[in-house]
Symmetry: C2
Subunit: 351 residues, 2 copies
């Protein structure tokens, strides 16, 4: 385990660019003084921001580049003009060349995924990366994946997601054998998509010493915290995530409405304001900002593009945590064990 | 338009059976005195409940049957023992034979769908039914479909969903040309499932005088009320719905927690309690209980199985509303116009 955690930052990523990235890094540094930062981006913009803060300046290096990936370009476009020289590419490259332990970017998700795949390559046995995130639940937090890295999934991919998700839960939650559920529909006529059923069969019947498969879960089981790891393919996962974000925002809005509607409600709010502050913090989407790209031979954290310094700091801290706990090594080992079991099972069946 | 609205009720459906169905009918009758009820179920259980309430008794007939569909049987099982004689089957049959204008059941969704398809048949040009429901939003309400009637959808099915959903919105919301969006993922690399893209192309390029296509929407646009009608296939739709329900429950729980945590929060709650009551009503899932099965030659309303009398009354009232506004006739006409346009377009292309 490295003494320092070295964090590569795509300073130009996100809707607000260097302003948010640099302030986020400063916040993260206060909480984790053993951090070191490598900023990639336009030096003329980044340097003054970094140098304005003594502690941050001492912990940072800045690598200048003029090229930045635009937020809404297609991955193929971004690769064309951004390969070798964009802030995003160079930040990922720092992980590849072992100059950094993790890269954090709030930039274009598709481009980040494409560049990360290109530079870092996939782990053995994994064909497609996945985005995993921490989902706040009534019991604490769960890991949900894939949140949109790829669309559609066969049974094998879903099983790999289960293994990678469980390894992540083991590290982030300190649980030896995390519970895992496959996201499915609750309508009785349809038992769900065929790959989901087949993945369920594999998870039920084969040996998975590192996870505890609990069967299908439905959308409302996620927030309930029914399992530590919720596995789904990227289309449904992305829609579930966005729908939950929208519903949380809607509920917060209703609540604000109710609390300002009458004089007595406003008085009530004054009495309850410390509770209200706790509530707001609890439902603050910035707290759980940051998706981990899994399946790559390197650690990439995607921050929401629209977040502020506090949210970006949360993404950096997530990266910090997974580096400190050696996520990548543990995922690689878990996948290795899984594929070894499969090999033995096939060997056994053949002999 | 019939003077009376005749409502067939599967008295044995739902987790609580006749107790909730009969009390729900009594509540709905108070609000809509022109209702008439046909109860199908075990007379020994249903009759005493109905006859205990004078007004309800005068507006009701009871048809006895001993057979009831179990909540978790597969549709094929339910059809085997429940065809011709179960309370669910007989209630649907009343609509088929024009003895009732609408059927409401809180029973097994898959069985209800299978029996309704079997008895009522599909509308011309529609191959598969869909479940549509009202979704509370920050702007009011939207219609979301399909919420799980069938898994997967080709572009043509999605376009039919758009036409049927828009016809429903026109009636329930009184909007001449409802806005329609296709649910898709927001991750840049993936532009979504091929059928969704193709349906988008058709909705953009062809003539739809009865709807205003607005393009793709994401999960968080549903609660925002960005469009009047959100179209998706049943797997993603069901997961979005359940996830939203789970998130709403989770937020309400956080809120309760915050309001009871300290003495001053409890005092605040007292001052704000009328606002709190309004808030609770606003987020009460019973208020929007009831999915409409679309695409069938008859109106079928599915209530949540676990709801109470208030929730079941909401499902009956939804049925009442769509009958009064002649939903079925208007959907059939809208589909007819759509298919006529398609026919002309094809004719034009061929000539």
């Amino acid at each position: 385990m490295p003494e320092k955690v070295r964090i590569a930052l795509d300073a130009m990523g996100g809707d607000h660019g260097p302003a948010v990235v640099v302030s986020g890094a400063a916040l993260a540094l206060q909480r984790h003084p053993e951090s070191e930062f490598l900023f990639f981006g336009n030096g003329g913009l980044v340097r003054p921001l970094v140098e304005a803060q003594q502690a941050l300046k001492a912990a940072s290096q800045i690598v200048h580049t003029e090229v930045a990936v635009r937020m809404d370009d297609k991955p193929s476009q971004a690769l064309r003009y951004g390969r070798w020289k964009s802030s995003m590419w160079l930040a990922i490259e720092a992980v590849k060349n072992r100059k950094a332990d993790v890269v954090v970017s709030g930039g274009n998700t598709g481009a980040l995924m494409a560049m990360a795949k290109f530079e870092l390559k996939m782990l053995p046995g994994i064909e497609r990366p996945a985005i995993a995130a921490l989902w706040p639940t009534l019991r604490g937090e769960s890991i949900v994946l894939d949140l949109g890295a790829s669309i559609g999934a066969d049974a094998e991919h879903l099983v790999n997601l289960a293994v990678m998700g469980a390894a992540t839960a083991r590290i982030l939650f300190g649980i030896k054998r995390p519970t895992v559920g496959l996201l499915n529909v609750g309508v009785e006529e349809v038992k769900g998509l065929e790959p989901v059923r087949e993945a369920g069969r594999i998870l039920r019947e084969e040996t998975f010493p590192d996870l505890d498969y609990q069967g299908f879960v439905e959308g409302d089981d996620i927030g309930r915290g029914k399992v530590d790891v919720v596995v789904t393919e990227g289309f449904a996962g992305n829609i579930a995530l966005k729908t939950a974000e929208g519903t949380a925002r809607q509920m917060a809005e209703y609540f604000r409405d109710a609390m300002t509607r009458s004089l007595s409600a406003r008085i009530g709010y004054l009495f309850a304001r410390s509770a209200m502050r706790q509530l707001r913090e609890r439902i603050d989407p910035r707290r759980s900002n940051g998706g981990v790209f899994l399946g790559l031979n390197g650690i990439v954290i995607k921050s929401h593009g629209g977040t502020d310094a506090e949210g970006f700091a949360a993404a950096i801290e997530l990266g910090h945590g997974v580096v400190r706990d050696e996520l990548l090594g543990k995922i690689t080992a878990a996948l290795g064990r899984h594929h070894e079991y499969q090999r033995q099972a096939l060997g056994g069946a053949a002999s």
